[in-house]
Amino acid sequence: MRIAAPVVAAILTLAVGSIFFASLGHDPLPTLYAFFVEPLNSMNGLSEWLLKASPLILIACGLAVGFRANVWNIGAEGQFTMGAVAASGVGLFWPNPESALLLPLMFVAGMGAGMAWAAIPAFLRARMNTNEILVTLMMTYIATLFLSYLVHGPWRDPAGFNYPQTALLPAAAMFGPFDPAYRLNPSIFITIVAVFLMWLFTDRSFLGYKMSVSGAAPLAARYAGFRESAAVWIGLLAGGAAAGVAGMAEAAGPLGQLSPQISPGYGFAAIIVAFIGRLNAFGIVLGGLLMSLLFLGGEGVQMTLGLPSALTRIFQGILLFFLLAADFFIFYRVRLVRPARDAHALETAR
């Protein structure tokens, strides 16, 4: 039954999408076709689909570890940005640009930067009792400004015609694509490993179980002696590490350089992916593939039908709305009762 909700939500989102397209004067069926099928009609489309699903799945896996313990890291976008910045920094300025160590070093730098960016809200929540939702979000705005500062200032490519972007990363700092015709690259294996690790942690480890108890029943967790601060640290650091690595893979893969806009909102979309996937490793894979399709479809209809790409965010929101609503019918038995005339209630309210 838990699996039914995402399916129902996806179908309802499609239904609302059809009505929406029809009201814009587009024939719904061809538009839906252009949105959800056409992107997958070619090898290039399939490559792009997996390329975009990879960071979404990776980040969502990390975030779900925290969400299971009621640790609300909603600043993955910032951790992603910092991961991309640190990894690109290593790639651009490492003394030997042909070193085979370059990619592994960038991996470590990206992961470290993402974790460091998440460690600040973790410390503040664990030691200072500060709400992590607000801090992670504020840190995202700061990360974006930091990136903007770097590409407009010290890291700007001197040969870049004054565009706010860095020089291109050297070849040794890039994941070479499987096939030069398409952009899909081996960084997708990182995501596959992460999904497996996430499954091991949540379903097969005692620590993961303790985290789930902390989320589902905080009082029971405290009674059992599970430390809340441990859940906070692990939850935030897992999200930060995953987002940092995703940022690294994005910089060393499709981007190849930094510019002020490096993410189409992967960090925020990954939150929805984690929920669609029921905070479960394999569910997240499906959720990430669906979300990736939304991004692709949004780009597709923008180019072919001239519809704005903001549609992607609208569909993301609607999908999450329906998913949450569908849960209600799974977790509760709905009984229709005639409302009692609560004259007494009104009387006391006055």
Binding site: M128, T130, N131, A310, R313, L320, F328, Y332, E347, T348
Partner: protein
């Protein structure tokens, strides 16, 4: 002297959208509901109000349209959180994303031209007083409305029976339900009110403060408003003071840029976000102070036993 007047009035104006949004969220949270979607509701309000002005409607109608757009957006959250008993964090986030998408979609035809901003008032005698006039009596009407809302909400929450009922529901919905208060209905009203206030905040940004339409023009102000409610430890007066503090920060940042300070502009732009973190840490460290006015049932779904 002119610089002082500029900083003072600039602070008050920059604080106005925060006052609207944070006061609205205060009422919502006092009823025990946490709506994280302020950013989305503000954007909807901003888009609708801007559209109304460009479509030729008068300013009051445009601002009302902004408020209604915010309320309509909040209804989506209300249905999920109150009727479908969903996780309020997730529902609020969904609203934030949805609102930013819908507003960007609506705003695609708005162009980048500024509109004629809401005028300042001109009160005979008062507005012409030296010093006092420009300092206090030449703001646009929304600034005064924000202060009026502050007085009205403080009075409502702490001086009326209905306000007491609302606060009781935020503390213990079970108890309130047991003595016969319509918990869900009152929470709906609080959520709608919060949405309308967020819509007003957004409308203020697009028709008075900026006054033009830019995608995602709220730039985190909705989240800062959320932080303000925590910072204020759920008390109206401190929301007002906090909003002025943040307004001052924004103006110092703009003045700093104008004076050509030798710091990167990004650092100045990051100041409000940094300040939000610092302020939250300072307040949150004191658990007792935080717990004193904290609505005990905040973000917990309520299902009547029968």
């Amino acid at each position: 002297m002119d610089l002082f007047i500029a900083i003072f009035t600039g602070t008050i104006i920059a604080a106005t959208p925060l006052i609207f949004a944070a006061l609205g969220e205060l009422v919502v949270e006092k009823s025990g509901v946490l709506n994280l979607g302020i950013e989305g509701m503000m954007l909807m309000g901003a888009a609708l109000a801007f559209w109304a002005v460009t479509a030729g409607y008068s300013m009051p109608v445009a601002i009302l349209a902004g408020a209604l757009a915010g309320a309509a957006a909040s209804l989506l959250f209300g249905v999920l959180a109150l009727t479908f008993l969903t996780n309020q964090y997730a529902a609020g986030l969904a609203l934030a994303i949805f609102g930013s998408g819908v507003s960007a979609f609506l705003g695609r035809g708005f162009g980048s031209e500024p509109i004629e901003a809401l005028h300042g008032v001109n009160i005979p005698v008062l507005s012409d007083l030296p010093l006092i006039g420009p300092l206090l009596f030449r703001f646009d009407p929304m600034v005064y409305l924000a202060l009026l809302m502050f007085v009205a909400i403080s009075w409502f929450l702490y001086r009326t029976k209905a306000g007491l009922v609302l606060r009781t529901i935020g503390e213990s919905p079970q108890t309130s339900h047991a003595i016969g208060h319509p918990v869900i209905r009152i929470r709906y009203m609080a959520v709608l009110f919060g949405g309308a206030m967020a819509g007003l905040a957004g409308a203020y940004l697009s028709v008075a403060y900026t006054p033009l339409w830019v995608e995602n023009m709220t730039a985190g102000k909705g989240w800062i408003a959320l932080a303000l409610v925590v910072f204020a430890t759920w008390r109206p007066l401190r929301i007002l003071l906090g909003a002025w503090l943040f307004g001052g920060m924004t103006i110092l940042q703009l003045q700093g840029q104008a004076l050509g300070l030798e710091v990167p502009s990004e650092l100045l732009s990051a100041l409000p976000y940094l300040a939000t973190i610092v302020v939250l840490v300072l307040i949150s460290r004191n658990r007792q102070m935080l717990a004193l006015h904290f609505p005990a049932s905040l973000a917990k779904p309520f299902r009547p036993a029968n």
